[in-house]
């Protein structure tokens, strides 16, 4: 962005008259014209009007007009140059698509998605306004759930783990089924806060806390429990930061609680731990649309048919690679045919452990029903191949 910013600065200098251009500012030109006119007017009230005076007026007017026109030209050129730098920075125009998501059900779904997004991200006043303006109906249950979530997160931010612990005790079964360390970490955060607030050698408050509360977690989190007690040796905080227990001194012990809590809370509601609009939006604008556009232009050049809703064209032109954290389902692409497996063409495992799709298995089978694996010398019987479920 350096180049546009520089050009913008130049444009600003020209318009504000601070640049070293050869023309005075427009205000300056107008002021000097006014000066001449006032002078002439004064003269006229005392002396007779001469042709010279009138000639002076005409001359000044023309000269000043010329100055101003030149200045405007200067400004215009600066504007055009700025525009050119913008053209160079944004080389690709936004593609035009046929209207998307216009069907009634799509519109309603998108409204619902946006409303839930506002609630989920804690923008309650915006959510209210939107629900009013759009007329979308959101379950009151969901709304109150998100309000509760934000109440607890705000408390956590203020270093109050009380509401969070309350929720944990109500949802202990769920947390245990996930083997979640949430409750333990909440107490850990409190313990460390007490510890660091203690004036050595009086560690009574912290140790009391550990004895009464942390002890319950001993069996599940033995190693961490031992670390928490051992780190007392390295107090105060400055020493702790250089010890093997430095991670316990960092603020992430406390700040990570927020996202961990939000994750578990949303999971208990059957919701994803990432905000869906962010996930899809980031993927779409992070390169996916650019990829699709590249392929579209190539196809236009080759004059092939493009349909917005068929499968994205093959030939590896539009394979949008997803980051590991965006992999939610298994994708099996047969190493032989490069086709993705489907219900009708499922992945099959041969006796050697290698997997190919059913169709490929069929094609590779000889008349006697035996198949030679394309990856190793092993031979299988076609009917003994195991259908795989990922």
């Amino acid at each position: 962005m350096d180049v546009p910013v520089k050009e913008l600065a130049k444009l600003r200098a020209v318009t504000e008259g601070t640049s070293k251009g050869k023309n005075p500012s427009i205000e300056g030109s107008l002021d000097s014209l006014l000066q001449t006119l006032y002078q002439v007017k004064d003269k006229m009230e005392t002396e007779p009007v001469t042709e010279d005076t009138l000639a002076l007026i005409a001359q000044t007017v023309e000269a000043k007009k010329k100055e101003i026109d030149e200045k405007q030209k200067e400004i215009y050129n600066a504007i055009v140059r700025l525009g050119k730098t913008l053209d160079k920075t944004f080389t690709q125009p936004l593609p035009s698509y046929d209207p998307l998501f216009v069907a009634d059900d799509a519109k309603a779904s998108l409204d619902a998605i946006v409303a839930v997004h506002f609630l989920r991200t804690g923008q309650f006043s915006t959510a209210e306004m939107f629900i009013q303006e759009s007329g979308v109906t959101i379950d009151a249950e969901i709304r109150s759930k998100f309000e509760e979530l934000h109440r607890i997160l705000t408390a956590l931010r203020m270093q109050d783990i009380g509401p969070a612990l309350e929720w944990c005790s109500k949802n202990r079964q769920f947390l245990q089924s996930k083997s979640s360390p949430l409750e333990f970490y909440l107490h850990r955060s409190q313990y460390i806060r007490l510890l660091l607030a203690c004036k050595p050698p009086d560690y009574q408050p912290a140790l009391f806390y550990a004895n009464t509360v942390l002890r319950n977690f001993y069996t599940e989190h033995t190693a961490e429990f031992r670390r928490l007690l051992a780190c007392v040796m390295y107090l105060p905080k400055q020493k702790l930061e250089y010890s093997p227990y430095a991670d316990l001194a960092s603020s992430t012990v406390h700040t990570d609680l927020e996202s961990l809590f939000a994750t578990e809370y949303c999971a208990s509601l059957g919701m994803s731990h990432q905000v869906p609009l962010r996930v899809v939006g980031d993927i779409g604008a992070g390169g996916a649309l650019a990829r699709i556009e590249k392929a579209r232009t190539v196809m236009k050049e080759k004059k092939s048919e493009w349909s917005q809703s068929d499968e994205l064209p093959v030939r590896g032109l539009i394979e949008i690679t997803l980051a590991p954290e965006h992999r939610y389902h298994s994708i099996f692409a047969c190493p032989v045919s490069k086709e993705q497996s489907t219900e009708q063409n499922p992945p099959m495992m041969m006796v050697c452990g290698h997997v190919i799709t059913k169709d490929s298995l069929q094609k590779l089978s000889k008349n006697n029903g035996r198949v030679k694996c394309p990856y190793c010398p092993a031979e299988s019987v076609q009917t003994s191949a195991l259908r795989i479920y990922f």
Binding site: M1, D2, V5, T15, E27, M44, L54, I57, A58, K65, Y76, L86, T89, L94, S96, F101, A106, L110, V114, V116, H117, T126, F130, E133, S134, S272, L277, R278, V279, V280, G281, D282, G284, A285, G286, G287, A288, L289, R291, E293, S309, E311, L312, V314, E319, L322, E325, Y328, H329, I331, F332, A333, P335, Q340, M349, C352, R387, I388, Y389, F390
Partner: protein, 397 residues
């Protein structure tokens, strides 16, 4: 989280309107200042020339001369005031907005990976910007304003521009062309550049309304004044319209019925919207929709329509799934196997292992299960239990 590098070019694809809208606005301000200069200085020049001519013909007297000079002074002071006004209230603030937006984009270039908190914040702001843009286009103006205010992004969005477009569209909805025609005359050159016939369509519609009200004399005058100038390109349409004077609005005759049809107003609104968006460098579709389309196309798999939704997969969400219906399936030439127990990707370090009935999970997740269950593992989908040792290694290349 991954340490993927930020795809700046890919992201900049979405940001052209962001930078260009205030730039086009500045050009508009410049044109306004130019018009003022030409008008006022033009007057001054002609006053001065007049004065000279009259004195040369010995017609003038002192009083008239002083009045003329006063007039000139008045014009110049007027111009000074108008230009200063434009600069203060329009010019300078617009330049400030351009700078702020360029800086915002510059932040993008300094982000190292998609992993860091700064990227998350930038992406959050971007989503907010998209939501404001989407809400404005959908007529949800209060939501847009509230959102922009709450998130402090008022300079990063174009609320005023959309409100202006909305004002003209509302007028068209009330069957009034005046506002749209005024807009066309302000943007004459630009409309000519994109070869737009919007002005003709608007004039034609006003003519049709005069015909509908049976104000035949007015209609004829109107046509002579405004439609004739388009006769080179639109003669057939003009002639067809002139016949309307003899045809009643209640006609059943095909072509005239269509001319009288009120649905023409809807097409006018659409045509205006398209022209307004194009002239202002706005995209025709909301940016949110484009991002959703591309993102869904990257994620959509047949598995999302299965009966086992993955709670974390956006496409498995029932509402998002409806949107995904319009989007093509994603295409992959390489396998990525995800364990249903742990959500982790299975690879050489964490090999997939198969139950005797074909269900496959990751070694790590199965080992953990076996450790807690005396070496036995149970498939959560088929409920089949067996010993860990009975599992077979699966080789997926």
């Amino acid at each position: 989280m991954s340490t993927t590098k930020v795809n700046v070019d890919g992201m900049l694809l979405f940001e052209q309107p962001f930078a260009r809208v205030p730039y086009e606005n500045y050009r508009k301000v410049f044109r306004a200042s130019q018009r003022n200069i030409e008008k006022e200085l033009g007057s001054v020049l002609s006053l001065s020339n007049d004065l000279q001519k009259r004195s040369m013909a010995n017609e003038g007297n002192v009083e008239e001369a002083v009045k003329a000079v006063d007039g000139m002074i008045g014009r110049v002071e007027n111009l000074k005031r108008k230009l200063s006004d434009l600069q203060e209230n329009n010019g300078k603030p617009t330049l400030d907005v351009i700078l702020e937006r360029l800086h915002h984009l510059a932040n993008l270039e300094t982000l190292p990976t998609t992993n860091c908190a700064d990227h998350s914040r930038w992406a959050d702001t971007r989503l907010d910007r998209w939501l404001v843009d989407w809400a404005l286009r959908g007529g949800r103006h209060q939501t847009a304003r509230t959102l922009a205010q709450e998130r402090g992004i008022e300079t990063l969005v174009d609320i005023d521009l959309f409100m202006d477009i909305h004002r003209i569209e509302s007028a068209l909805r009330r069957h009034s062309c005046a506002e749209a025609i005024a807009w066309c005359s302000e943007n004459k050159t630009a409309l000519r550049k994109i070869k737009s016939t919007l002005e003709f369509e608007l004039r034609l519609q006003e003519y049709i309304e005069l015909a509908r009200a049976r104000k035949t004399q007015e209609a004829i005058t109107y046509s002579r004044k405004y439609l004739i100038s388009w006769q080179e390109t639109h003669l057939s349409q003009i002639m067809q319209a002139s016949a309307l004077l003899a045809v009643l609005p209640s006609t059943n005759c095909g072509q005239y019925k269509r001319l009288y049809d009120n649905s023409r107003w809807i097409s006018l609104i659409q045509a205006f919207r398209l022209a307004a968006y194009t002239l202002n460098s706005l995209s025709t579709e909301p940016l949110l929709n484009l991002a959703l389309y591309a993102g869904l196309a990257a994620l959509k798999l047949p598995a999302c329509y299965d009966h086992n939704p993955n709670v974390n997969c956006p496409v498995c969400d029932p509402n998002i799934r409806v949107l995904a219906n319009e989007v093509p399936y994603s295409h992959h030439t390489n396998s990525t196997i995800v364990c249903r127990l742990s959500g982790k990707i299975m690879d050489e370090d964490n090999m997939p292992m198969a139950f005797p009935n074909g269900y496959v999970y990751s070694r790590e997740a199965l080992e953990e299960m076996a450790a807690k269950n005396d070496g036995k593992v149970t498939c959560p989908q088929s409920n089949h239990t067996c010993d860990f040792s009975a599992l077979k290694k699966v080789f997926v290349s």
